[in-house]
């Protein structure tokens, strides 16, 4: 049986304003207002103001008449939304799926979670207590359906309610129809008809309701009673830690901007610290006037919060960007155009992962260990040469020499030392060259015996007399890979003392030099 927890925070906006310290004066009735024309209209009221009779929709002057000591602050929907999203993230401790219903409600799927909290009542109690600790008053209800939980949480008689399984309709009956999430027009119409409770509504035949009020009302009733399943949309993952800066005057010069970067980093780092994360990929977005922004990206092998490390990598990137900017400036001066101007900067920790505190790191600056030093080196190298250029070799069990190994980028493979242990190849009594040409090079040879080794070859314009040859070692490839490869390899020593690895292709006759025993 599905169980849904609804957390309703009726005074979220005003409590958020208090929490943010927007009004530092002594506690009192607070309203959030929005300018409409010349007047200010009350948008949200706190509990105290509501008790004094202040209601949303009044003008500020009216509200002041009711409560002379009223505090008024401008509304900030974005901050309210951010606060609610943050609480949604927190609420995932009660259930895996949390939906944010703006402006003031959270829905949590707590199906099967009761055992973990020793009862559903405990879930609701803990949720309300947790929110209170965070400065938000909340009402909680757990019911079989989203609709029922929402109705009981918003309009129910008790601040914490658990509707037993299968008793939704009984609990819903005394509540006003508005609790079913109906639009105000419908509520008004129902009120005019004398339908004051959901119980009254449920007595009416559905067919006539549908013709009179449209399908929306029927859907809400069906959802509340569990006749129609309602999906909870999980709130999306939290926004990455970021810090932004917009310049009042657009700048053309980097020197004016660079000092801002460490400041932004401090902000980002603080957010990382709060989340217990370290940055794996940091993006620095540079906004220009009338041009698409530049995104400078720094990737790290190991999550970090050290500016010393991240900063040097970012500097590399900024220098490249600076060169581009300079080139652009030179070009625009030549054509007497307006130079590219920087209007803002943003630093985003695009990828983060768990940050583990190294022993001793909390209290003192520690010398970086071997592994850390290596990670920093790899970050530096990859910063300039790209991630594909920094690789680790892995052996592949394949007979074709050029396929007997592969390179894996270190960033993907990580740089924990791998123990190769006993390798089948080290027990093969045939030597492999240290250098293998990317493509075998065709060489001219002279061969005495039909399938024997060459006695003479020319390579890169030089003639070599072969004094010793070891082989043949016949290598055949897997036929299922397409054109099969069959080769007889010889390790040859020439008169000068050099050693080469040559082979004769068996299916397309010819001699090739493949490797050098450097």
């Amino acid at each position: 049986m599905r169980r849904v927890l609804c957390l309703h925070l009726p005074y979220l906006a005003t409590e958020r304003a208090w929490r943010d310290g927007l009004c530092r004066s002594k506690p009192g009735p607070l309203v959030l207002t929005r300018p409409v024309g010349a007047a200010h209209v009350v948008e949200r009221v706190c509990a105290q103001a509501r008790r004094l009779g202040v209601r949303p929709g009044m003008s500020l002057a009216q509200a002041r008449a009711l409560a002379p000591e009223l505090l008024a602050v401008a509304c900030d929907d974005q901050k309210d939304r951010a606060a609610l999203t943050e609480l949604a993230r927190w609420a995932t401790r009660f259930g895996p799926t949390v939906e944010v219903v703006e402006p003031d409600t959270l829905l949590v799927d707590v199906t099967g979670c009761a055992l973990l909290f020793r009862g559903e009542a405990n879930i609701a109690r803990q949720a309300v207590a947790g929110l209170k600790q965070r400065g938000f008053g909340a009402r909680a209800a757990i019911a079989d359906t989203v609709g029922a939980a929402y109705a009981v949480a918003t309009a129910g008689p008790e601040p914490i309610a658990v509707v037993p399984v299968g008793q939704s309709s009984a609990w819903l009956a005394p509540l006003p129809p508005a609790a079913l999430r109906l639009d105000p027009g419908t509520c008004e119409q129902l009120d005019r008809l004398g339908i004051r409770s959901i119980g009254d509504l449920l007595m009416l035949p559905r067919a006539s309701l549908a013709t009179r009020f449209g399908p929306e009302l029927i859907l809400r009733i069906r959802q509340a009673l569990g006749e129609t399943f309602e999906i909870l949309t999980a709130c999306t993952s939290p926004p990455p830690p970021l810090a932004r800066l917009a310049f009042e005057m657009p700048a053309t010069d980097w020197s004016a901007i660079l000092p801002a970067v460490p400041r932004l980093w401090t902000d980002v780092c603080e957010q990382l610290r709060r989340r217990g994360m370290g940055v794996r990929r940091l993006e620095c977005v540079v906004y220009y006037e009338g041009a698409p922004p530049d995104v400078l990206c720094v990737e790290l092998v190991r999550p970090s919060r050290q500016w010393a490390h991240v900063g040097t990598l970012l500097e590399q990137r900024l220098e490249q960007c600076d060169d581009g900017l300079r080139a652009h400036r030179a070009a625009s001066e030549a054509h007497e155009l307006c130079p590219l101007r920087i209007t803002g900067l943003m630093l985003v920790a695009r990828e983060t992962s768990c940050w583990r505190v190294q022993p001793g790191e909390l209290f003192a600056q520690r010398e970086p260990g071997v592994e850390e030093a290596l990670d920093m080196l790899i970050d530096r190298l990859a910063g300039r040469l790209g991630h594909e250029a920094i690789v680790r070799p892995e052996l592949v069990d394949d007979h074709q020499p050029e396929l007997a190994f592969r390179y894996v980028p270190v960033v993907a493979a990580g740089c924990a030392p791998k123990e190769m242990g006993m390798d089948w190849r080290s027990t093969v009594p045939i030597r492999r060259p240290l250098r293998l040409l990317a493509r075998p090079v065709r060489v001219r040879v002279r061969v005495l015996a039909g399938d024997g080794p060459p006695t003479w070859l020319t390579w890169r314009g030089q003639e070599h007399v072969v004094v010793r040859a070891v082989g043949p070692e016949r290598l055949e490839t897997a036929w299922w890979r397409g054109a099969d490869v069959r080769r007889d390899y010889f390790r040859i020593t020439v008169a000068s003392g050099e050693e080469f690895w040559v082979f004769r292709a068996l299916n397309a006759p010819g001699w090739y030099l493949h490797g050098i025993f450097g």
Binding site: L377, F405, K418, T427, R435, L436, E499, G518
Partner: protein, 229 residues
């Protein structure tokens, strides 16, 4: 005035010598495992320095020698970085030199400037015991930078030069290697130590080592266990 200045200069020279001696003494030497060569070098290749190797031709065995030195320098604790400028490094072949592939990082770049920059960065890192860099040539300025980086990081910089340099170098040693035909299963090399910072360069010296798979050299397998199992 003149006397005071010369005294001051002498003092400074002494300080430099002490500093150098100190850093050298702390870092020690890394033997190649080829006893004749180690004797000529005064105990092996000194760490925290760069060394130049000049092969007379392509398939001489200089690479083999260099990788053996790198393997011994790294031991089982530290890392080797190969800068693969020619895109022809063959890791399966490295196994026979005693290199542990689990502790090898390859930097693939074909630009000489990038290769030198990467080499300098790697040498500065204390986690890396040796860096192997084949390249065409190094001017004295780059050589100086690399040497300073090696002194910071304490590792070995092993440069295999494709040109035939004659000018000065900041490397601790410069070895010229000519291939010789050795007995079966052995690599033989005639080495001329053209430069040695602490010691005297010496004339041609014929060294040889076993090239058989699983054998790093006669002494290495019994020694510190860096050989391929």
């Amino acid at each position: 005035m003149g006397a005071a200045r010369s005294v001051r200069l002498a003092q400074l020279a002494e300080q430099i010598r002490q500093v150098r001696h100190h850093s050298r003494a702390a870092s020690g030497r890394c033997p190649s495992g080829v006893s004749e060569l180690d004797a000529a070098l005064g105990g092996g290749f000194c760490r925290a320095a760069i060394h130049e190797f000049i092969p007379a031709a392509e398939g001489t065995g200089v690479f083999s020698l260099v990788w053996r030195v790198a393997a011994r320098a790294a031991g089982t604790e530290r890392w080797i970085v190969a800068i693969d400028t020619q895109a022809d490094l063959y890791p399966p072949g490295l196994l026979q030199t005693g290199v542990s592939l689990g502790r090898l990082i390859v930097v693939r770049t074909s630009q000489p400037s990038d290769a030198l920059w990467a080499c300098e960065q790697v040498l500065r890192c204390s986690a890396v015991a040796a860096v192997v860099l084949p390249l065409r040539g190094v001017d004295s300025r780059a050589s100086r930078r690399l040497q300073l980086a090696a002194e910071t990081g304490g590792g070995l910089g092993l440069l295999i030069r494709g040109d035939k340099p004659t000018g000065p170098t900041f490397a601790a040693s410069r070895l010229y290697g000519e291939p010789l035909v050795g007995p079966p299963g052995m690599r033989r090399l005639r080495i001329t130590v053209q430069k040695l910072r602490e010691g005297r360069p010496c004339g041609p010296l014929v060294v040889e080592w076993s090239d058989a798979p699983g054998v790093v050299s006669a002494s290495a397998v019994l020694g510190d266990g860096t050989g391929v199992a």
